[in-house]
């Protein structure tokens, strides 16, 4: 289902150009608004749909196998931490869904350098950052012994 852009909603802000993982959202030369230049490289990931501040981008299922008349639209509300979906079937049935997208404020992740620096001895062992605490188990990081591995049949 490749994306397309509504003429009356797009104001050419470029957020979709910035976000598209496939580099297929670009700017039309006549209208200076967005368009999908390569629908056959569109994964329907909806990154552009979600990123558009005007909700100007929608999807129409791939013509290879999706008949017309359907609609799957999303409203991602970052500040609320939600994404809402409205699915409309070709025959008019409708389904609505709402999911959380994050439980913590945006920008709130503690950067790795904000933790106490590892001690020199830590570099030589197998523990990664925040271990063994982050594993929340007794006995420290599990390990094998070399002689636990036996060469296979051949």
């Amino acid at each position: 289902m490749p994306t397309f852009v509504y003429m009356t909603r797009c104001d050419g802000c470029g957020h979709c150009v910035d976000i598209c993982p496939s580099d297929i959202m670009h700017i039309d030369k006549t209208y200076r608004r967005a368009l999908n230049i390569e629908p056959n490289m569109c994964w329907e990931c909806y990154s552009c749909v979600k990123a558009c501040p005007q909700q100007a981008i929608d999807c129409r299922g791939y013509a290879d196998f999706a008949p017309l008349g359907h609609s799957v639209r999303a409203l991602r509300e970052e500040k609320k931490g939600t994404i809402s979906w409205k699915i409309k079937f070709r025959d008019g049935r409708e389904k609505n869904f709402e999911s959380p997208i994050r439980t913590t404020p945006w920008g709130s992740i503690k950067g790795p350098a904000e933790y106490a620096a590892p001690r020199p001895a830590d570099f030589a062992n197998q523990e990664l950052a925040h271990e063994p605490d982050a594993l929340n188990i007794e006995g420290g990081l599990p390990a094998l012994r070399r002689n636990q591995l036996k060469q296979g049949v051949v």
């Binding site: 289902m1 490749p2 993982p21 496939s22 580099d23 297929i24 390569e38 056959n40 490289m41 569109c42 994964w43 329907e44 909806y46 990154s47 299922g61 791939y62 290879d64 196998f65 999706a66 008349g69 799957v72 999303a74 994404i83 699915i87 409309k88 079937f89 070709r90 025959d91 049935r93 869904f97 999911s99 994050r102 439980t103 913590t104 404020p105 992740i109 790795p112 350098a113 590892p118 570099f123 197998q126 990664l128 950052a129 271990e131 982050a134 594993l135 929340n136 188990i137 990081l141 599990p142 390990a143 094998l144 012994r145 070399r146 636990q148 591995l149 036996k150 060469q151 296979g152 051949v154």
Partner: protein
């Protein structure tokens, strides 16, 4: 472009260069900073790390979580599981290494804000299956990208890395080059250690849909095999490149079936409403012997039964959902499973009026993909953990390839099946700590970059723009030129060659030595044609280099498929000339090494080590 359309060269010196800002790349960036407080950590990404990689649209489950804190699984259990699914051939040392760390990664994800579903009875993460837990992962990638941005000295978006640079005095990587997809500027990265965390290979076999539908691949269309082409080109050894994966998924949309099978407890039937898998037990046993009795049934063997049933004329295969979907909670899970992971499947069903409450939807097998993090494990041959890896698997730093200073994580690394998103991020972390140690131990040694090589590469990288600009003068207009090919032309040729000769859908995944040899001939001609690619603009130039990477990976896949003279994974592909599994001769890894000077591929076997029992 610059003010007047020109481009410049940008030099970036880094201690650690992470190529690729997906799950593995973000993990590598994060961990590099933890261990290398004063190091210059640079992450470079072809798109925008906010949504790049295979997790762009989100995930609905984390498929690799032990649950050690609740005694649910131990790391060796996961190794046995992955080994079983891959018919015995995995790097158990690497797999154990990821499995022992991955729980910590998942706990950090939750801490960072990823909404985890919880089992209402036990309060633990809601299990989808033995290894899988369920999440509301629409923003999985933005959350992980935030962690990476907080760690990196600099994140470079929209820069496609086309080549690694080597220090020619030693077998050591010294950096990478590429171009900015927006400004066209040429970028030269110098680094003391490089972690390749790029994408595996989609679009090397012809997909089932060939129009707009080409975009609806199971694995992201922007995974252009850079994870393989970059190391292959500089002579790193690769392993198991023949181990391509074919997936049984919902028809056309390739939507995920995991939650359906495991959580909703659905099952499959043929077109007549019959259970069919057991029907093919003897047939499968004749091919693989006692492997057919393993539990759970390996993924490829389940594919095999489906393929046989369809070939016998009793398709289409359907998943029985009508029962499960009567439960409103399960219905919600079923739909949200797509919306959080593969929105396209919801679109397909909406467009065809398929409501799983009233219709049992069709399943199909996909075209083949080559990657390293799923029920498959193609990729670079890497050194294992120092504390227990056997000597054949260990040569210094964890996750370092056979090129000094060149590390890998995620789809890049071979032999580590079933790591998925959390395992890839974890592997990034593992590689990062090792890379930091490597940088510190190498001291002040700056990598040597050959100015001549950089200049030559610059010319090579931009050549397609020049080919188009000049060649365009020959024709009036249109896409057909006798002197240059557009990237889509090359891609379609590649996909057709691989499809017809290397076991794609049109041959029902069948190939043999003769077909493979002919495939190599045709790939060789395509390789020659690559110097005649024409790119109209920077976007097309990116497509050219994606094709170049895909082609290099395809050559590797074909050589490996030719080398392994058995059918190890029926249901993924078949060697018509060696139809049976042959543990006597082929219970081993295949390794290859490409010599770019001679264009030759050297193949060899490597031993497989198993955890006892």
């Amino acid at each position: 472009m610059g003010l007047f359309g020109g481009t410049k060269t940008v030099h970036v010196d880094a201690d650690i260069l992470v190529i690729g800002g997906g799950m593995a790349g973000c993990g590598a960036t994060y961990e590099s900073r933890y261990w290398g407080r004063d190091l210059k950590i640079v992450c470079v990404e072809k798109a925008n790390i906010e949504r790049s990689g295979a997790v762009a649209q989100g995930l609905y489950a984390i498929n690799c979580y032990m649950g050690m804190q609740w005694g649910e699984n131990q790391p060796e259990d996961h190794v046995r599981y992955a080994r079983n699914d891959l018919m015995g051939l995995v790097r158990e040392d690497l797999g154990y290494d990821i499995a022992r760390h991955v729980d910590g990664t998942v706990h950090k994800f939750e801490e960072w804000g990823l909404p985890m579903m919880r089992d209402p009875k036990t309060g633990r993460y809601q299990r989808e299956g033995k290894w899988q837990i369920m999440i509301h992962g629409e923003s999985y990638k933005p959350i992980v990208a935030e962690a990476a941005r907080k760690a990196a000295t600099e994140v470079y978006n929209r820069i496609m890395i086309t080549h690694l640079l080597m220090d020619h005095k030693a077998n050591r990587v010294s950096g990478a080059v590429g171009f900015n997809v927006r400004s066209g500027d040429f970028y030269v990265f110098r680094a003391k250690a490089v972690i390749v965390a790029a994408g595996g290979a989609s679009h090397i076999f012809k997909p089932r849909a060939v129009g707009e539908g080409m975009g609806r691949t199971w694995y992201a269309p922007w995974s252009s095999a850079s994870a393989y082409a970059l190391p292959i080109e500089v002579g790193a050894k690769m392993t198991q490149m023949e181990n391509r994966i074919v997936l049984t998924r919902f028809k056309d949309g390739y939507g995920p079936v995991g939650a359906y099978f495991l959580h909703l407890k659905t099952y499959t039937q043929n077109g007549y409403g019959e259970e069919y898998e057991k029907r093919w037990y003897e047939d499968t046993k004749a091919l693989v012997g006692e492997y057919v009795d393993h539990h759970p049934v390996p993924t490829c063997l389940r594919n095999h039964a489906l393929l046989k049933e369809v070939a016998a004329g009793r398709g289409p295969i359907r998943m029985v959902t009508k029962e499960a979907f009567q439960d409103p909670h399960k219905e919600t899970v079923g739909w949200e499973n797509f919306l959080g992971m593969t929105i396209g499947q919801a679109v397909v069903w909406a467009s065809q009026n398929i409501d799983p409450k009233h219709t049992n939807p069709e399943l199909t097998t996909s075209e083949p993909y080559v990657m390293g993090s799923h029920a498959t494990c193609s990729g670079a041959w890497a050194s294992g953990p120092e504390d227990y890896a056997p000597s054949e698997y260990q040569w210094g730093y964890n996750r370092m390839m056979t090129v000094d200073g060149l590390f890998g994580a995620g789809d890049t690394i071979g032999g580590t099946a079933h790591k998925f998103s959390s395992g890839s991020f974890t592997e990034g972390r593992i590689a990062a700590k090792a890379a930091v140690r490597y940088v510190m131990e190498k001291g002040r040694e700056a990598p040597q970059v050959s100015e001549q090589e950089v200049r030559d590469l610059q010319k090579t990288i931009y050549q397609p723009l020049e080919n188009y600009r000049v060649g365009r003068n020959e024709i009036v207009a249109g896409t057909v030129s006798p002197s240059y090919l557009l990237p889509i032309h090359g891609l379609q040729r590649l996909e057709k060659i691989m499809d017809e000769y290397v076991g794609g859908i049109s041959t029902n995944y069948m190939t043999n030595g003769k077909l493979l040899s002919r495939g190599l001939e045709l790939l060789a001609m395509l390789k020659e044609d690559m110097s005649h690619m024409g790119a109209e603009d920077l976007h097309q130039l990116q497509r050219v280099w994606e094709l170049q990477h895909r082609l290099r990976a395809s050559e590797s896949v074909t050589h490996h498929t030719l080398f392994r003279q058995e059918t190890r994974w029926p249901g993924y592909y078949y060697r018509g000339d060696f139809m049976k599994l042959d543990d006597q001769n082929w219970h081993c890894f295949t390794l290859s090494r490409y010599d770019r000077k001679t264009g030759e591929w050297a193949m060899e076997k490597a031993p497989v080590y198993h955890i006892i029992d």
